[in-house]
Symmetry: C2
Subunit: 348 residues, 2 copies
């Protein structure tokens, strides 16, 4: 089945996604009956392009790589922005399923502009796939309700742990199971900084190393202050525990007050300090927390080091189970979008 794609955001994740679609083309077509055509791209810095007959993905990648704008690829008047693109693609949604892939930058306060993009996509008759944790952390309840009301689909596997299929696992493979709580390590930058301090680096040295390696952003406060982990915790709670929380509702402590001495003392005693995301049910409903914790050696999170991430779910029927991502990069996040496309296809 041919699916029309509108790329809202065309940063590293979306660009890797376009390549991956090409690399996996045969398996997707033959095993999952998924064939894709990019009919629109909206960016903030590189302009927008639209062609209902299909844009050339490779040409778009090259254009942006050269630092040029995308307008020239448009066969008709180029859209002004994401909302304009989605409005003008609405008629296309009649012929073949239209899927909007939202990959704009995380806004941890209110999930904008991604939330507006997703609403506009539903308005245009599009299904939505996103790797952006903002909307799931800040507005999951409303977005799910809007998707339901319009008979559209909404998937977001890439929002937490890249392409590790955590939401998918819960949705598809744990029927009738209730998640009672969870614990995890979900932020790589902080895990690396703590590891650097274990080896004797100062906080600032460890952070600089991460920034030089391209793992941490120039403004690392989202990671260091626990906002990224809090957004992921809120997303996990909203989806897996039927909560209705935003990142601000997570009890949050970052790692900026940790000292190398503390971290090394814990390690010397066989323990490990980690930034742990957790959620549980109390009488008032689901509660969430992000904070540095000193873990015993036997704790399954104690050895989740470096680029590894892990989430352990506590359930009613299935006891406790963990899913571990040993390493993640752009390809895994881009793959999450592919998984979600297949999920959309399966339900059509």
């Amino acid at each position: 089945m041919l699916m029309n794609l509108a790329l809202i955001g065309f940063g590293n994740v979306a660009r890797r996604f376009v390549q991956l679609l090409d690399e996996l083309r045969v398996a997707l077509r033959d095993e999952h009956d998924v064939e894709c055509r990019v009919v629109g791209i909206a960016t903030r810095r590189h302009g927008c392009a639209m062609d209902p007959a299909g844009l050339d993905g490779r040409q778009a990648l090259e254009t942006v790589a050269r630092g040029e704008r995308l307008e020239g690829l448009s066969t008709r008047e180029a859209p002004r922005d994401a909302l304009d693109l989605l409005r003008r693609l609405a008629p296309v949604a009649g012929a073949a399923p239209l899927v909007a892939l939202e990959t704009t930058t995380l806004n941890v306060t209110d999930g904008q502009p991604a939330v507006d993009h997703i609403r506009a996509a539903f308005d245009a008759g599009a299904h939505v796939v996103t790797a952006n944790k903002g909307p799931v952390a800040c507005a999951f309840g409303q977005l799910r309700a809007e998707a339901l009301a319009r008979g559209r689909q909404f998937f977001f596997e890439g929002a937490v742990m890249d392409g590790v299929p955590l939401f998918n696992l819960f949705r598809e493979s744990l029927p009738a199971v209730r998640v009672l709580g969870l614990r995890g390590i979900v932020n790589t930058t902080t895990n690396f900084i703590i590891a650097g301090m274990e080896r004797g680096q100062s906080f600032d040295e460890a952070l600089s190393d991460m920034q030089r390696a391209g793992i941490a952003e120039a403004d690392a406060s989202l990671d260091v202050d626990g906002w990224d982990a809090a957004a992921k915790t809120a997303a996990l709670m909203n989806v897996l525990m039927a909560a209705d929380v935003s990142p601000a509702a997570i009890d949050r402590t970052g790692i900026s007050r940790l000292t190398p001495a503390q971290v090394q003392a814990a390690r010397a005693a066989g323990r490990a300090i980690k930034l742990v995301a957790s959620a549980w049910l109390d009488e008032g409903g689901p509660r969430g927390r992000v904070a540095p914790e000193t873990l015993e050696a036997g704790d399954p999170l104690a050895r989740i080091d470096g680029v590894a991430n892990a989430i352990y779910l506590r359930t009613d029927v299935m006891g406790e189970l963990g899913i571990v991502q040993c390493g993640g990069d752009l390809t895994q996040t881009a793959y999450a979008l592919v998984t979600d496309l297949v999920s959309v296809r399966r339900r059509l």
Copy 2:
């Protein structure tokens, strides 16, 4: 949707399954449109019963608990055995989907009689759900082909790691991903015996403890000699790596030659000896191995202790990812059958 169930085998797993169906009844009906009726039970020691209008599950549990035979529950002439039951249930398969739940004892050599039961079920127009690893380890290729030819479904989530949805995860949540290899700890008895030796017990003392606790069988050779792990490895390879192997093709070393001194020396050096199941691709195709291995402290399998099991998959697109079961009991194995029932329903 009403589904008719034929229980082939009525041991601990099947009995817990009958209870669990009752405990999860509302969620299964309201969220997954699954309603079940047991129309036949075939056992080796407690006789057989059949009633196309539905047997009373609780009554069957009580009958067997009292050590009595099931024939009295039959509204018509009781079936002689599983094959007779399935033949006589064939007409029922027209009215509502018939699902055979195969839970007889593991036979690691050829998967019998479970393989014959599954074939007879397909002949009778039934879908098949099994928690028995024998058929998946010994005859997966043929059984899958027969299911396909007859348009029947065949699921086996309980064959490895109880209800942890490993096969389901691969099938539903990792589209277009290739598994290049795997490593895991999949046998609890051997993991416990090694832990006992770490604490200073002899092999025989540790084994006796396990048998007294009801975790190890009186004849523990299936576990100790690595056959159980080899059957699971073969099942994993057949399903995840498109292999066509049987347990005998797995390069297998048990733990009976391990000594407490070896195990303790490893632990003192910060390492851990574990019975590791692994599989990989070489030029001749998929290869499998079960053997005690000395793991470095940083190995994610080194801390999989006690009742925990874990499998790490090495993939092309998604890198390496692990799934960890922190503890398993009858409920989890029985839940695997429930998951599979929901999978059958979704495809109808």
